[in-house]
């Protein structure tokens, strides 16, 4: 399905139904003490497209990722992936099902070589069973296939020259590339990228973006968290905006970035909220009226992006 038809058919409102959702989320809630980190009523992620997940700092984007992939437990709610209920499933099972994530703080395995990092991603390895492990002839052929697949991906991600180096010697951007390539070794159907561009030097950003953009063509669905509005508008087919744990807007990139609720969330506007009657907290300037001390909701880095829209 092309992104144009997606945009045309689907109403741009929070929780809107999609023609072919790969991920369907129902009433998911996660609280940390009194703080509601995630409170998503309903969300569907369309298969085969790139969905950008945006929102100010502390909006619950990463927590939402953690919940979906089993790295955190929800207090309530259910979600299904590809029609199978994945509520409360452990991280490795979620990954085995085809939902693979990357991390905001890159997790390259430093003391393994780049190639070993890649090989680790391959699923259903015969030699990963204890009793078969010492018997090399049982897994040698499969290992060879895995190496070939890894080499192809490394070449595509321009890491082939680092193949036999320790992953710890890679630059920050190369680690992001490695983590993405390694996730692809799992043969996922849904790739969840947590801030894939964070800390990547601008020269690499374009190549990373191209890689992300090429994933739907290989039959994958992509959900990614990103702060940079230019990046989001550039590569997403659909954008979902979270604030204070809830989905406040979704739609095609242009409509979301110009949505008043989204701009409010980013800039911390609270005109019409009667609960915010404390005096201005200072330092917010005239851009951000009374904010009730919720300073963390105003992300200076994001302001530029939001006002661009």
């Amino acid at each position: 399905m092309s992104d144009v038809t997606v945009r045309a058919e689907i109403p741009a409102e929070p929780g809107s139904p999609k023609p072919d959702p790969i991920l369907r989320v129902e009433q998911v809630r996660r609280t940390f003490g009194g703080l509601v980190a995630v409170d998503v009523d309903h969300l569907e992620i369309q298969r085969g497209v790139i969905t950008g997940l945006i929102g100010p700092n502390g909006a619950g984007k990463t927590t939402f990722f953690n919940l979906m992939t089993g790295f955190d437990r929800a207090n309530q709610g259910t979600w299904s992936f590809d029609g199978v209920d994945l509520t409360g499933v452990s991280p490795h099972r979620a990954a085995q099902r085809g939902m693979v994530r990357t991390f905001q703080l890159t997790k390259a395995l430093s003391k393994l070589t780049v190639l070993e990092n890649m090989k680790l991603g391959a699923t259903d390895q015969v030699g990963e069973t204890l009793w078969r492990a010492p018997l090399r002839w049982l897994w040698r052929d499969q290992e060879q296939e895995i190496v070939e697949r890894a080499d192809e991906l490394l070449a595509r991600f321009q890491l082939d020259h680092m193949r036999d180096e320790y992953a710890g010697t890679l630059s920050g951007g190369q680690r992001k590339l490695l983590e993405m390539a390694r996730a692809l070794m799992v043969n996922p159907t849904l790739v969840m990228l947590d801030e894939p561009m964070a800390g990547v030097n601008p020269a690499l950003t374009q190549s990373l973006l191209d890689h992300v953009r090429s994933l739907p063509g290989m039959g994958m669905t992509v959900v990614f968290v990103e702060h940079d509005m230019d990046v989001v508008s550039n590569i997403s087919d659909w954008v979902v905006c979270m604030a204070e744990g809830a989905i406040i807007a979704e739609g095609p990139p242009q409509s979301v970035t110009s949505n008043p609720a989204v701009i409010d969330a980013y800039l911390g506007e609270q005109h019409d909220d009667p609960s915010f009657q404390e005096p201005p907290d200072g330092g917010q300037g005239d851009q951000a009226p009374p904010d009730g001390g919720h300073g963390d909701r105003v992300a200076p880095a994001d302001n530029d992006g939001a006002s661009d829209a």
Binding site: T69, G70, F71, S90, P91, H92, R93, A95, Q96, V100, R101, T102, F103, K107, L109, S110, K111, L112, E116, N117, K119, L120, G121, T123, Q125, V126, G127, E128, T129, L130, R132, A133, P134, R136, W139, E143, Y166, G168, T169, R182, A183, M185, V186
Partner: protein, 339 residues
């Protein structure tokens, strides 16, 4: 001062049965700590259940030594499972605390008066008395009829092993080689790749569809059984078992051995054990030789020697960590990598 005697003593222990025993403990620790990143500070507990498996089966139940060997190794598996289920979900430091506590609990339990019984010869055994006369069946198999003298005739230094010791050290060192090869085979496999990846970052491994908990449990069982094998051999070497062998310091000796040799290396534990016991015995021997007024006697008398030896070995390990932090067999490049 006779350098030949010092070197001879040092070398005898470097290749002796005790070094081989500590090599086994360190190979197990290498699986836990070196490859998987599990900070097991209770390795001596695995050794204890191996030794007491032999002791109880042979001395209390009167069964064959070989049954004792099997029970000792099975006890290692059981201990690993019991320890692993509640603790493997804990982060590193907590796991270390639980393991050291578990080993101490085991030691205090087996030395309890509650377990004292009388042998047929009407002598007490069990509890603080330990168990004796365990290795008759092993010694029957001894192919060596005379002691081995090394170095005599070719000049300094010389040392020797009596035939029964020669037999137990041959078997224990053979096991060290076999187990090292087994661990090497495992670690070069895809299974070993997952294990090493868990050491680097467990969550990354989970995110790639591997059940990290299960792998950690397998590692704990394998390293633990290797430790229990050490305990079984200790009981056989000495033909007896006593709780005094299982003081927590022995776990730290095994760590010293592992760090000296190099973590996550194939032969590090074996080489480390030889060097550790060479240094340990050589220093004790040197101090004994200096006990003639050359140094103040509080340093060199029988009481002082132990403490000075431990300090000296500690100093050597500190120097090693400063100048060769990767251990003798390790690769420096790996240490320079940061997360």
């Amino acid at each position: 001062m006779d350098v030949g005697v010092i070197l001879g003593n040092g070398l005898r222990e470097a290749f002796g049965p005790t070094a081989a025993y500590f090599a086994l403990l360190a190979i197990g620790l290498n699986v836990h700590y070196g490859y998987t990143g599990l900070a097991n500070f209770g390795q001596v507990g695995f050794s204890l259940v191996g030794s007491y498996g032999v002791g109880i089966v042979v001395a209390e139940l009167g069964w064959s030594l070989w049954a004792g060997v099997v029970v000792g190794l099975l006890a290692g598996i059981v201990l690993a499972l019991l320890l692993g289920f509640p603790t493997l979900r804990l982060r590193g430091d907590y796991f270390a605390i639980v393991t050291i506590a578990a080993a101490e609990i085991l030691r205090l339990v087996v030395r309890s008066d509650y377990f004292v019984t009388l042998t047929e010869a009407n002598t007490p055994q069990g509890g603080p008395f330990g168990y004796g006369d365990l290795a008759f069946e092993f010694r029957e198999l001894n192919p060596f009829t005379s002691s081995l003298d090394i170095g005599s005739g070719i000049g300094l230094p010389t040392w020797n092993y009596p035939s029964s010791q020669l037999w137990s050290l041959t078997v224990t060192w053979s096991l060290v080689i076999l187990v090292s090869l087994g661990v090497w085979l495992l670690m070069r496999s895809p299974w070993g790749r997952v294990i090493k990846a868990i050491r680097e970052d467990e969550d990354a491994v989970r995110s790639l569809g591997k059940n990290a908990f299960s792998y950690k449990m397998q590692s704990l069982v394998i390293g633990g059984v290797i430790g229990s094998l050490g305990g079984v051999m200790l009981a056989i070497q000495n033909s007896s078992v006593t709780d005094l062998s299982f003081q927590p310091i022995n776990t730290f000796f095994a760590y010293a051995v592992l760090l000296l040799g190099g973590t996550a290396t194939r032969w590090g534990p074996a080489v480390g054990a030889m060097i550790f016991w060479f240094l340990f015995t050589g220093t004790t021997s040197l101090l004994a030789q200096l006990d003639d007024g050359f140094l103040p006697s509080f340093l060199t008398n029988t009481n002082g020697r132990g403490a000075v030896t431990l300090s000296a070995v500690g100093l050597v390990i500190m120097l090693l960590m400063i100048f060769r932090p990767q251990g003798l067999m390790g690769r420096k490049q790996e240490l320079l990598l940061h997360e």
